[in-house]
């Protein structure tokens, strides 16, 4: 049964639960709502909740757990020799899944009937050709163990769906009946419903934790796979990035890290002075009229999607820098360059630095400024020697957050910085020129994970290791920055 139908049926049962619970409670009070402990609608909601919530939770849990159980059991039938032959279990399983889908398609198109799909033998018929005819993506010849596993897989997936439908609907009915039995004029429906709502609220707020957990686990898992195939030493300390899908790749992270840090540095060199000076001017000097115009204009920069900046780098800034600076001066002739990406990213970060700094500068107490003016300091002396030192921790926090943004930024570097990894082996001279194209961690995550990917090869899996590294770096920066900013705010509260 399709998921949508299950959900609709459960909701329908919920509605019945609402009506039944409400009417039974009213009935027990002789139709007089004032005799009830809670408002009649609470009895209804009680019925609805007990019917729907456990059922849907069970469905979600089933959907989460079932795929891995089915996969494990389907894989159990595959001989070890087969796994050894293809390299890894996940690779074989990908093939099994694809074959299973192809069988589904064949049945849907009517080129096979259900019986045939179940009992087909690769030894006797040319399965591969027949499945390819359906338009499914079959890359290798389908042989007997794979086909068998695929057939098992299909059967189990179908069975799982059936069991799930039964279990979910059954649970909904049980909940309905239970709620109905409980509905009585002395039953404290409101308290129960409110407890239930509170539980839902708690569940919603734990999604943040589950997301983080999901990020960490999914990347850890694949990263572990990667390090089984590739030495972690060479990944973290390798000076060369040269992936090759035929094997023998060199997957050193350092050139990418260098590119990331270099471009981020350029971006911060642009964004921090401009953002900081803009914030100082807006908070200390600007007339209310100028502030009302300039502040939103600069903040618009923050609302523009990064793809727009990427396009701006690609079609405007890149050619401009190449034609006016890099080529005449002989620095290089690539439209993609560190400076292009850095400059455009810097523009993107200006509002980020300026609005955070603005808040922080405004948090410096006026008494501090008065003390300085009272001594005959000019406004700029006050800012430079009193306000900024007082705001320094907060500003450092803002810059760290901006740095974390820069390191994690993807589209601008994809479109502005190019795809060539820094040639670290050729020494500092080769990697310091800001007019050359250079690639970053994020660009490589994108390029290794888009297009035809094979989740068993180190060339694809390296993206997860890169992602985890990126996550850890930005996490560190964020936590540090948030800590600093929070401490700073407490100081002046």
């Amino acid at each position: 049964m399709p998921l949508l139908w299950i959900v609709l049926v459960v909701l329908g049962l919920g509605l019945i639960g609402y009506l039944m619970g409400r009417s039974r409670a009213l009935g027990s009070a002789g139709g007089d709502g004032r005799q009830l402990h809670s408002l009649p609608s609470y009895y209804g909601w009680h019925g609805f909740m007990l019917t729907v919530v456990p059922a849907l939770l069970m469905m979600a849990a089933w959907l989460l757990v079932a795929p891995s159980v089915i996969e494990n059991r389907a894989a159990a039938g595959i001989p070890d020799a087969k796994i050894a032959e293809r390299g890894s279990r996940s690779l074989v399983m990908a093939e099994v899944r694809r074959t299973g889908e192809a069988l589904d398609m064949a049945v849907a198109q009517g080129t096979m009937d259900e019986d045939m799909a179940r009992n087909l033998r690769a030894d006797f018929t040319d399965v591969t050709e027949r499945l390819k005819a359906t338009g499914a993506i079959i890359t290798t010849t389908v042989d007997q163990p794979i086909l068998e596993a695929a057939q098992n897989y299909r059967v189990m997936a179908k069975a799982s769906n059936l069991y799930m439908s039964i279990a979910v609907l059954g649970l909904a009915v049980v909940g309905l009946v239970f709620a109905f039995m409980r509905s009585d004029k002395d039953f404290r429906a409101r308290n129960v419903v409110e407890q239930g709502i509170k539980a839902i609220l708690i569940l919603a707020s734990t999604i943040a934790i589950m997301t983080t957990l999901g990020i960490v686990l999914s990347m850890l898992f694949e990263t572990a796979n990667f390090f089984e195939q590739y030495s972690w030493r060479e990944f973290f300390f390798g000076l060369n990035w040269a992936p090759d899908f035929r094997g023998n790749s060199e997957l050193g992270m350092l050139p990418l890290l260098w590119g990331t840090l270099y471009i981020s540095l350029v971006a911060l060199l642009v964004a921090v002075p401009i953002g900081l000076f803009a914030a100082i001017y807006l908070s200390e000097y600007a007339s209310p009229r100028l502030r009302a115009v300039a502040k939103p204009m600069i903040e618009i920069l923050a609302g523009i999607p990064t793809i727009v900046y990427g396009l701006f780098a690609l079609i405007t800034v890149g050619p401009l820098i190449r034609d006016w600076i890099a080529q005449p001066a002989g620095f290089g002739n690539s439209t993609n360059s560190v400076i292009t990406a850095g400059l455009v990213m810097g523009i993107m970060l200006i509002p980020f630095v300026s609005s955070l700094s603005d808040d922080i500068i405004n948090a410096v107490p006026q008494a501090m400024r008065d003390g300085s003016y009272g001594l005959g300091a000019t406004q700029s002396e006050t800012i430079k020697q009193v306000v900024l030192p007082a705001a320094l921790p907060g500003i450092v926090g803002a810059v760290l957050l901006a740095a974390s943004r820069a390191i994690g930024e993807t589209m601008i570097v994809v479109m502005g910085a190019g795809a060539a990894a820094a040639q670290m082996e050729q020494g500092l001279g080769a990697i310091i020129n800001p007019f050359q194209a250079m690639t970053t961690v994020t660009v490589k995550i994108v390029s290794q994970l888009t297009g035809d990917t094979d989740f068993a090869s180190p060339e694809t899996l390296v993206a997860f290791a890169l992602g985890l590294t990126l996550f850890v770096i930005t996490l560190g920066l964020n936590v540090l920055a948030l800590y600093i900013v929070r401490k700073y705010r407490e100081q002046y509260e």
């Binding site: 708690i202 919603a204 997301t211 999914s218 401009i274 204009m297 618009i300 727009v308």
Partner: protein, 454 residues
Amino acid sequence: MTDATAQGPDASRPERSGSLIALDERTRRRNRSERRFRLYGLIAIGIGVLALVVLLTSILSQGLPAFQQTFVNASVYLDPAKLDKNGTRDIEEIKKVSTFGYAPLIADAMDRKMESLGIDPEEFGLSDKDALEMISKEAAAQLRRYVIANPDQIGQTVEFRFLANGRIDGYYKGRVTMESAERDSNVSPAQLRLADELKADGALGTYFNWDFITAADASENRPEAAGIGVAIIGSFYMMLVVLFLALPIGVAASIYLEEFAPKNWFTDLIEVNISNLAAVPSIVFGILGLAIFINYVGLPQSAPIVGGLVLTLMTLPTIIISTRASLKSVPPSIRDAALGVGASKMQSVFHHVLPLAMPGILTGTIIGLAQALGETAPLMLIGMVAFVREYPGAPPEGFFDPASALPVQVYNWTTRADPAFVERASGAIIVLLLFLLCMNMIAIILRRRFERRW
């Protein structure tokens, strides 16, 4: 306290310039440095504003031409002998005629057009085939769609606007010149001269191009036909998913954290997670989507549902943060008043606090949606860069069909060789920015209209 008078009072007072009205040298110098400092601030703001202006003008000037397209006007005889051999007007029969069947009709129409205008392609040194190449390769498909939509027109002669080839179009947009045409294998200067002649006779013209907004993407060698229809639908579906997931979950989480959560390590853990997730690079969410939703759960690639789920997780922190701020701004007296008349805590929140905080919550949600709409990187990882020709179906099944998304479509076009796609990409950006502008306007209006000062 004796040290206060340790020094003679007058001995300590140095001679100053005395008058306040005459500025001393040092003060003048300090004032100059003050003005310099102020100037730096102004320059910084100037750079920021200038960057915005340059960015927008660059995109606008590159992208506005995408809304205009060069067309060739010709009257086509929809020959029943070719389109409907049996004469049954059965739609299924008509559909069986492929685009190849329509090409001769177009060639025929062009021939007659030239003849009626008294233009002979030979004079320009062009064969009939060369002249026909000035029409887009998409023209046959264009005509076929028209016939399938209007089968009753078969046998008639209809006035039709054919898309001109991308290079001819580029010629009128300044992208292609006579010089560049010399070196271009796809277009010759003679064709451009013929196009000028046709334009002078009114057979070729530039019109507003609705197809850019409604049509699907087109292949590498026919940029003139590429549109953002599929991408808009894909983005819209994702926004629906985000709205229906992120808003209730975000509001529920905020209510718990703001109104019910006890102060303990678990609450702290949630808070730290939320503020951190708000700053995690978007591409990491893409990896999450790929690993969990596609590889583990087995949802299809390129589907709006996956994109919507990923964007939901990304938008949640934004929505939670702004929702909490607006819940916080509802004064405690409202809660006390509700509790005072015997409402439960839950009732006071749902009946009083939440409605009062609603405008703020909606504003935050719209801003979160706007952020999600412009997000590109995570969508690339879940396969939305794929070339999608077909419109996704109606929801809910449509959520599982392959689709593109506006920002990803833009990226996709920038990776193609033909410079005409850059124009398309910029045009798509303009549409994207217009959407964002509308969303932000709505947010601002909501805030203005419903903002309460307590």
